[in-house]
Amino acid sequence: MSDKIKNIVVSVVFIFIITFFFILSIITDDVELSYSERRNLAQLPQVSWDTVLDGTFAKKFNQYVVDQFPFREEFRNVKANIHFNLFRQKDNNDVYVVGDNILKIEYPFNENSIIRAAKKFNDLQDKYLKDANVYYSIVPDKNYFVAKQYGYPSIDYEKVVSIMNDNITDMEYIDIFDCLELEDYYKTDTHWSQDKIQDVVNKIATQMNFSDRLQNVVYEEKQIPNFYGVYYGQLALKGKPDTLKYLTNTTIQNASVLNYEDNTTTKVYNMDKLEAIDKYDVFLSGAVSLLKISNPNATTDKELIIFRDSFGSSIAPLFIDAYSTITLVDIRYINSNLLDQYIDFKDQDVLFLYSTLVLNNSVMLK
């Protein structure tokens, strides 16, 4: 190709590409949700003199055009491939792959955050739980099982436990680290798989003295295929989905769940959430500040309160046979000073169940 033709080709190609995507961006319909990234995509911002002059319109417009760019998913896939395969980088936006497991780096270790969480638990106990039997347990995130071995930065898990033990007063610690392994978690998601946590349930039940009430409980396993977990979308590479499994029996099927946020009642496994961005929301309808599970088949009047994060959603159903009611409190979404307006604290069993991910970022606990 002569220099002259090359110059024409380069000029035309350059103008064509930028104009093509400009026109395509304008004519294609805006999308509301990104299922892979689990978030709402930015929409065209409203124009006003105020937003133009204070610069917020420009910022929002920039976010809008990035979010609504044509072939967004394909471009994210190209980026991830360059990152991993050309630049040989070990993570993409902190997400990495070990075998067929997708994980997200949790680093740096925030010692103050762990202390803050412990103090928060102490404060809650002082305020509401003086007469209760209070236990706490820590769920290791997936990095615990592989990060060190494969040379990825991770938090100091032993230190998390020791800081919590040193700072928490009058609560009994239930160590579940040994009950878990990497295979107990979804490959594409943060969470543990409900069908793999029987050891955790047994350990907690034994230490909290309700194992006898779970002795003869049997479950039927149900499966929901094509579960793409939260890390799958963040990784942006093509891969196999998980199967979401859940355990059920007559007690669980008969139980009802009261959502204090909107005063609605649902089933323990909310199948409407299969259409939501995150299928894991099938477990107790996902992120809700305050829930009460009532068990009409209960043979006991014992009650349980679980202060929890999202790991609690899938383990709580496995405690239903042992309690008449289980109240689940997520203080990431409700100010803990308001709890006595909704909960009658007396002599319930209480479990604080939090993952290391939340403890290392405890600023979110209100």
């Binding site: 090359k6 110059n7 080709v9 400009f22 055009v65 990035v66 471009f75 942006a236």
Partner: protein, 467 residues
């Protein structure tokens, strides 16, 4: 609006190119001015008036300097023009710095003004000053067409982060310029290369520097990795912006001066500053150093001149003591080289003089990037294990493994190796034709790759926007 952003690349740029090339020649400057003002308005809605005021001041002063040429009034108007421009720059950029230092020295509590720094003010102020001085010196004809002068100052490719284009460099182009496929293709290629340097190299290394700062488990090796990565990051970040600016200018028929010439292959600090941010160093040379007497003075006056120029260079980069120390660091090194080291370096094997240069430049950029002198000293001590950190740990190994390929690509890209290899191959007619076929393909691949990074919403700040 960043050049390396979806809204610039896929909204602003196609609109400007289409508008620019469909209007007749006599309206092209008007379109460039209008789109440049819009470009600036998007980022700085209010300060666009400040920029227009600065341009208007330069326009009026230029005419008055020319009108009263040969009289004292001409000089008075020159001084007035410089005072106004420097005062505006000083007010917006340095007021809080001076207040902070006065408060510390006199234990006073004068309230800070907390004025946001108008983007690009350091660059366009220097362009305006160069215009009035050049008119006064008779090196440039006075521009009587406000539109042309405003187009020169506000021209969006070089408005907010340089290169500091001197009026004389584009004087003729403003009146009339040729538009050819050759020029457009060269510009587009240069722009795309800049885009790749910025997004694929500078941003990735910038992420590593940010991770280093957040890391609590630093090691001696990590400090060195950071020092090297930041040197490469700042070079690729800033030279990429210059590449994009020069490329955009070329698309519209302008020939902007080069701003970088592989500075890391230099063998002395003196040579480094002939290759790094060339438009700034030549600006200081022509408008400060030479008027002070330059080299043609006694030894002590020469050192004084170097000290003044480098104090100003440091201070130009930012209202912080780290920048002043950074400037002074170079002043001292340049004085030492002028006194005796320069001749000695010439006799040394080039590998030694290159290591000398790279090490000192790395130290300078560690100071430059530090958040205060305390952090700069900590970072420099870290290079030698003087702050008690271990030699190496797993975290450092992780970052080394994760960024090694990008660092190697960056090191190769910081030398003229690839450029020389392509030029050598092009000497063969057959290879030239093959390269001509490959060039558009590579451009498409780079656009796809950089767009992919932009769509993923990666780390993307421009370092030189803060100056």
């Amino acid at each position: 609006m960043l050049f390396s952003s979806i809204d610039f690349l896929y909204y602003f740029l196609p609109c400007v190119i289409i508008l620019y090339f469909i209007v007749p020649n006599k309206f092209k400057n008007f379109i460039l001015l209008l789109t440049s003002l819009f470009f600036y308005f998007v980022g700085e809605p209010i300060y666009v008036l400040l920029m227009l005021g600065t341009i208007f001041s330069a326009y009026v002063h230029g005419i008055l300097i020319d009108k009263y040429r040969g009289t004292k009034l001409s000089k008075i108007f020159l001084i007035s023009s410089i005072v106004i421009t420097v005062s505006l720059l000083g007010f917006f950029k340095y007021t809080d710095f001076f207040i902070t230092n006065i408060n510390e020295i006199f234990n006073s509590s004068i309230a800070l003004l907390k004025i946001a720094l108008p983007i690009g003010i350091s660059f366009y102020s220097f362009q305006v000053i160069s215009y009035t001085i050049d008119v006064y010196r008779g090196n440039a004809k006075v521009q009587k067409n406000f539109l042309n002068l405003a187009t020169y100052v506000a021209l969006f490719p070089q408005l907010i982060a340089g290169p500091i284009v001197r009026y004389t460099s584009v004087e003729e182009d403003l009146e009339s310029r040729k538009h050819t496929f050759e020029g457009f293709a060269q510009g587009a290629t240069r722009f795309v290369i800049g885009l790749a340097k910025k997004i694929l190299i500078a941003n990735v290394l910038g992420e590593m520097c940010q991770d280093f700062r957040l890391c609590d488990d630093k090691t001696v090796l990590f400090y060195w990795l950071y020092g090297i990565a930041f040197c490469l990051h700042i070079y690729f970040d800033f030279s990429a912006y210059s590449d994009m600016a020069i490329g955009l200018g070329r698309m519209f028929g302008f020939k902007f001066p080069e701003n970088f010439n592989y500075p890391y292959i230099s063998k002395s600090i003196t040579e480094f500053w002939r290759r790094w941010h060339i438009s700034l160093s030549t600006w200081f040379r022509d408008y400060v150093y030479i008027p002070l007497g330059g080299n043609r003075v006694g030894k002590w006056k020469l050192y004084r001149n170097i000290l003044i120029v480098w104090l100003l260079t440091g201070f130009w980069h930012g209202a912080d003591w780290t920048f002043i120390v950074w400037g002074l660091f170079f002043a001292i090194l340049l004085m030492i080289e002028k006194a005796f080291l320069g001749k000695f370096l010439e006799k040394l094997p080039s590998i030694i003089s290159r290591f000398y240069l790279l090490f000192l430049v790395m130290i300078s950029f560690i100071i430059f990037n530090a958040d205060g002198m305390g952090q700069a000293i900590q970072d420099i001590k870290g290079l030698f294990g003087a702050n008690g950190v271990p030699l190496i740990n797993d975290i450092t190994l992780y970052y080394l493994q994760s960024y090694l390929v990008v660092i190697i690509i960056a090191i190769i890209g910081a030398t003229p190796f690839i450029k020389n290899a392509v030029l050598k191959l092009k000497e063969n007619e057959k290879m030239r034709k093959v390269i001509n076929v490959l060039e558009p393909i590579v451009i498409v691949l780079i656009i796809v790759a950089t767009t992919a990074y932009l769509v993923d919403g990666s780390f993307n700040p421009f370092l030189y926007f803060r100056f």
